[in-house]
Symmetry: C2
Amino acid sequence: MYSADYLRNFTYRFFRKLGCPETDASTIADILVAAERRGISSHGMIRIKNYYLLYEKGRINLRPEIKTERETPGTAVVDGDSAYGMVAGKKSMQIAIEKAKNAGTGWVATKNSSHFGIAGYYSMMALEEDMIGIAMTNANPLVAPTFSKSRMLGTNPIAVAVPAGKYPPYVADFATTPIARGKLTIKGKQGESVEKGLVQDADGQPSTNPDVIKEGGAILPLGGDRVHGSHKGYCLNSIVDIFSAVFSGANFGPFVPPQVPFLSPPKEQVGQGLGHFFGAMRIDAFQEKEEFKNKMDQWIETFREAESIEGEPEVMLPGDPERAKEEESDRYGIELLDSVEKDLSDLADKLGIDFEI
Amino acid sequence: MYSADYLRNFTYRFFRKLGCPETDASTIADILVAAERRGISSHGMIRIKNYYLLYEKGRINLRPEIKTERETPGTAVVDGDSAYGMVAGKKSMQIAIEKAKNAGTGWVATKNSSHFGIAGYYSMMALEEDMIGIAMTNANPLVAPTFSKSRMLGTNPIAVAVPAGKYPPYVADFATTPIARGKLTIKGKQGESVEKGLVQDADGQPSTNPDVIKEGGAILPLGGDRVHGSHKGYCLNSIVDIFSAVFSGANFGPFVPPQVPFLSPPKEQVGQGLGHFFGAMRIDAFQEKEEFKNKMDQWIETFREAESIEGEPEVMLPGDPERAKEEESDRYGIELLDSVEKDLSDLADKLGIDFEI
């Protein structure tokens, strides 16, 4: 078990040693450890090796000049200058928040970026400013549109954070697919099959094989198949792609560069890097601050009263599981997979820093 | 078969005779007939009887004063003054578009409104202005959160329209549930069952009975069950509720007044009427207009090339089926169910206007 502080400090030292500026190393450490604390370990320490190897491949600029390329009072397009996605993402969300302070809402599309970790982190940055925060990103093409066997879209997550009054905030952070890539990998390693309605094989036929991606298969959009509304998941997923890439000038759909070092970006590029989209909406642009928060508290109380189905878990609100996991992580520590510990230890050796297993 | 013009003219005369101002009758007619042309007949002429009966029940104000209650350069809260939803909706979207002209983006939350027809109509209003349009609304509580048997949310649709260059626009318009209420009703009338993963019974158990709503059951969120990502559908669905009602001061979740005359609004009200949320984003706030449109054309071409699964229909883009249906409607006319023809004929008699069956 590791404390969040230990992991944050290690990650900071790691990226400093690699050559990142202090602020950037600190940003990366914050976001990776936030993922671990929230129980989204697929976006936590396990990514460090990948991030390192992407740098080694020359795909990451450790000293990026992140610039606003175009703007109006309430919008901006940001060039991430091949930064780590966390660095470009945090800066972009800060710009969205600043815009919202003046214009009521702020919207930023970011190009030339890379994998940015958990979308929820950026949406939650808005909470401290009494704003609703929105973050989304496109990602490696692994998802097939309804009726297609082509991998055209990423698992393209959306996060929305809404401030409340006396209660913790509402935080939704979800991939627009029924299952995330990371969970498939775990199932595969455990030799388990997955339920129908999550993935399809290379011919587009239903599959229960979690390793289907390696064999040319695809993840299905949220909804699974046409009868269960996969065309709606496909809509949602493609909206994230358009907002993240067409607004910003990043690569869209099948052209998004894979965020793993063992796959090269497609030869044909239709934009720069990977794209994100961020929004911040001042709650007092719509209601008196206290009125909004009281209403949101009432909303939360109402949904807490929803009756559970016998034999099923308690009804939850978006953000509940992650918050419970945060409390657990802070109390008992964070566990890492043996393979992650080994990778971190090897990487630490390579860079001449410490990592205690 | 009816021509769109005939139905539009009839609807206009109907609402004029009822007492609506010219512009409002025209708006209602446009939106109902747009639904018929696009093949979404559940939101077309079949609704006129309901709309009439809601007025008879005193729930609709035919001469509303729709007012902006609060605003910033890029946002507004609109009071629909108990108008027909189409009237409040169109006015609100117009405000969002005007705001976007000046501020880059415009966002309007509307309270004190009612059923507004197809969300797609409002999103598409933005296209003429070279803007992306967004529309969403909350609705009668029929949907149970993951693990719950309580009906807490509506089928809460989202529409997003994106302008392209030489190709028709991208138009996504979808309920955040795997199946819409209207389709369940049709299945029920045909004596057919529905697939698993769409609805549950009053105890929260999986069901294939399309009449389950009448027996205390619920529609599931997009995803169906937890394994297939229903918690993500629940997130999406509740975001629509929060944006539509908490931003505006409308009723949220289980307090949304049912939009049918035979069910009274819940005694406890936490806001005014039903709520919508609208957005307009100028494409040139992010990219040069032509650059954005070319990129969107390229996006469309790329997705047209997605390979189909053998034995399945062609891969479609959001908006394709509705556009195909529009062309068919304009060529061959619009068919109405016998029961709808009868209702319209009876209503026409009542108001002393003509309806030709």
